[in-house]
């Protein structure tokens, strides 16, 4: 009669009932939501931060009125004022800074200076730069004496968004989006990395706890060491799965609430309109409104994203994720268990952790590269090699992976994880009963070859 279920139950319940588990489980989605809300709030706040800027040109008024005021920026064009005179007093006069435009600007781009006490925000610089660039462009074009230049300029001002279509073997066309695929690759790879790592190292801590508190000797007089190890690994896997599912539901819940209250569709368009207003000049704004009357480009893009998101191979992604999580976690958790058994305390783990963490971190790095270039041979090999394949393969799947590669990777994964669990169990069995011995790789190699 196996006692593994009893062990699994204890490992699971003691962790799930911990305060830290409950707090983390609730806090994580809140933090994730905060990651999205805080930048939005910051952006809204920025608009209230009003700045007045003095514009001084050297003996000319070439650019008078070129830089338009926005909701939170006012440009005051001063005539007959020297920069040096204002340099010391501009703050008292209520200016955020002085923008000095030298007539050289048409030929040298460095002829503009913004003098301020603080580092100016990037948005301000961009606004000034693009306004000036556009105007200089216009002025230069004017020298060619083209008729109806203004009208032509309006017409040439275009926005481009490339739509990607994937053609299947039978010729059917699907809307895809590289953006969505990249996002999925990123999320899949990162989540795999995090889950394997977090719960793998929990296994290690659990083993160390049992070893240092000497509980292990009593337990292995009742059950086989390998049963204790597997019970712990499975129990913690269930904890991970529980937490993951709660997160999925909580996150879904929070976003639903957010969508229906804070970020109502009207508000969204309002925000975007405000932003358009603040950035575009009046004429351009008119143009934009005309355009949106016919086809809202944002809306079209959104719809395209949406359909391409739906077109992702969700079933394949989810099933592969579960497969790679289970096997990848088992593989790494057994390694972590072996390490935990070999040391007397957590500080000693470092020398052993490095060789184990390198492949998984390498996997994450390759996965990030995969997002840029899914077809690279590095990605191909790393998605087959079992130590890196869980993370890398998750990053490759959204871009499409031939089934034989997926199959080969999975077979290799299973073979390796069985071998690793077997080896880890042998090390674990000896390691948990060894105290006060400085463990080393040679030592662990010896344990591997001890008989029962």
């Amino acid at each position: 009669m196996s006692k593994i279920p009893v062990i699994i139950k204890r490992e699971y319940l003691t962790r799930v009932r911990k305060k830290s588990f409950i707090i983390m489980t609730i806090l994580a989605p809140v933090l994730m939501a905060a990651l999205i809300i805080v930048p939005t709030l910051l952006m809204m706040n920025q608009q209230q931060d009003f700045k007045k800027i003095a514009v001084i040109e050297d003996n000319s008024d070439l650019f008078k009125g070129v830089i338009k005021n926005t909701e939170n920026l006012e440009f005051v064009y001063l005539d007959n004022v020297k920069v040096d005179d204002l340099k010391t007093t501009f703050e008292q006069a209520g200016y955020y800074g002085i923008l000095y435009i030298s007539p050289e600007i048409v030929n040298t781009p460095n002829a503009v200076q913004l003098i301020s006490k603080k580092q100016p925000p990037i948005g301000l610089l961009q606004h000034i730069e693009s306004s000036l660039e556009k105007d200089i462009e216009r002025q230069k074009l004017m020298t060619y004496n083209i008729e109806n230049l203004d009208q032509i300029m309006k017409n040439v001002d275009t926005k481009v968004s490339v739509q990607t279509k994937k053609i299947g073997d039978s010729g059917e066309v699907e809307d895809t989006s590289t953006g969505i695929a990249m996002a999925l690759a990123y999320i899949g790879g990162l989540l795999m990395y995090m889950l394997v790592f977090i719960f793998g190292s929990q296994v290690m801590r659990g083993v160390i706890e049992e070893k240092t508190s000497r509980v292990v000797e009593v337990i292995v007089s009742s059950v086989k060491p390998v049963e204790l190890m597997m019970g712990k690994i499975v129990g913690i896997a269930l904890v991970g799965l529980t937490q993951f599912l709660i997160w999925v539901f909580l996150t879904m819940g929070i976003f639903t609430v957010l969508k229906s209250t804070v970020l109502k569709t009207e508000n969204l368009t309002e925000v975007s309109q405000n932003m358009t207003k603040s950035i575009l000049s009046d004429e351009q704004q008119q143009m934009a409104q005309e355009q949106s009357a016919s086809v809202n480009p944002d809306m079209a893009e959104f719809q395209q994203l949406f359909t391409s998101a739906l077109n992702q191979p969700w079933g394949l992604i989810i099933l592969s994720f579960i497969f790679y999580f289970v096997t990848g976690y088992l593989l790494y958790a057994s390694l972590f268990a072996a390490i935990g058994s070999a040391v007397d305390n957590e500080t000693e783990t470092q020398q052993f952790m490095l060789p184990v963490t390198i492949p998984i971190i390498l996997g994450l790095m390759v996965a990030m590269g995969t997002m840029q270039n899914p077809e690279s041979s590095l990605s191909f090999w790393c998605s087959l090699i079992p130590l890196t394949s869980p993370v890398v393969m998750m990053a490759r799947i959204p871009f499409g992976v031939p089934y034989w590669q997926l199959g080969l990777s999975m077979v290799l994964m299973v073979v390796t994880f069985v071998a690793f669990v077997w080896m880890a169990a042998k090390i674990y069995r000896t390691g948990i009963l060894m105290y006060g011995k400085k463990s080393s790789w040679q030592e662990m190699w010896k344990w591997l070859r001890y008989s029962g």
């Binding site: 009669m1 006692k3 009893v6 062990i7 204890r10 003691t14 706890e209 049992e210 508190s213 000497r214 509980v215 292990v216 000797e217 009593v218 337990i219 292995v220 007089s221 009742s222 059950v223 086989k224 060491p225 009963l433 010896k446 001890y450 008989s451 029962g452």
Partner: protein, 302 residues
Amino acid sequence: MALFEAKNVTKKFGTQVALDNVSISVPEKCIFGLLGPNGAGKTTLIRIINQITGPDSGELFLNGRKLNPEDVVSIGYLPEERGLYKKMKVGEQALYFAQLKGLSKAEAMRRLKYWFRKLEIVDWWGKKVEELSKGMQQKVQFVTTVLHEPKLLIFDEPFTGFDPVNANLIKNEILFLREKGATIIFSTHNMESVEELCDNITLINKAKTILEGNVYDIRKQWAASEYDIVFEGEISFPENERFNIINREEENGKSSIRLKAKGNADTNEILQLAIGLGKVISFNPALPSMNEIFIRVVESRN
């Protein structure tokens, strides 16, 4: 009949020999002392009996049958290094260990209630282990060791960490368990408790058995030629061919003398000599303590 037997057990760790052809035989309902200096191989032997590790060669028998993995439920083990999950509650923990030994939850609960009441630790049920003192933790661990009523109990230094009152309580529980039919393997460095409790012993040194047998027989064997005699009044001893005086004390008008017989003088001869010297109050062949025997045997081997 022997309840437990180990025959010619050898265990090596790499090149280091932990047990070299060691055999023990533990009669039923016996308290069996497994003795030896630190690092002699006791813990390895105990782990082999518990099937935590396997021997390289040799055989183990429980109740005349070869020891098999199911036998863990017939063995209770209290290791020298006690260990409980610190963050876990006492009651839950006791239940967990009981279930690992194959008891159903309901049965474990029933027996735990009995033992917790008996050792007066009912109040601790809902407490975390880390809140208990070391002695209290030992009590809990003792309960988890005996709860599944194993036929063979292995206690490694069971009295360390207990105050005299609780040590006595535990000693009585061990005797009570033997009374109820349990056989006990008892490993300790406390030789007084060996004299007090053990029927048989095996002394292991450097992986080998160097002394074994019944405690009384061993002491008698080592005692062969020493006697404690108490006389009334002061006694003067002439130089003598039969014995040497090892020690003498005079107190309250009595003389206590330990003497060692020379050659092959037997008890009767010595007693006759003593009677000739004065008024004898008591005469005892002096049994060396297990402590002395332990030290002498181990040192002679080193």
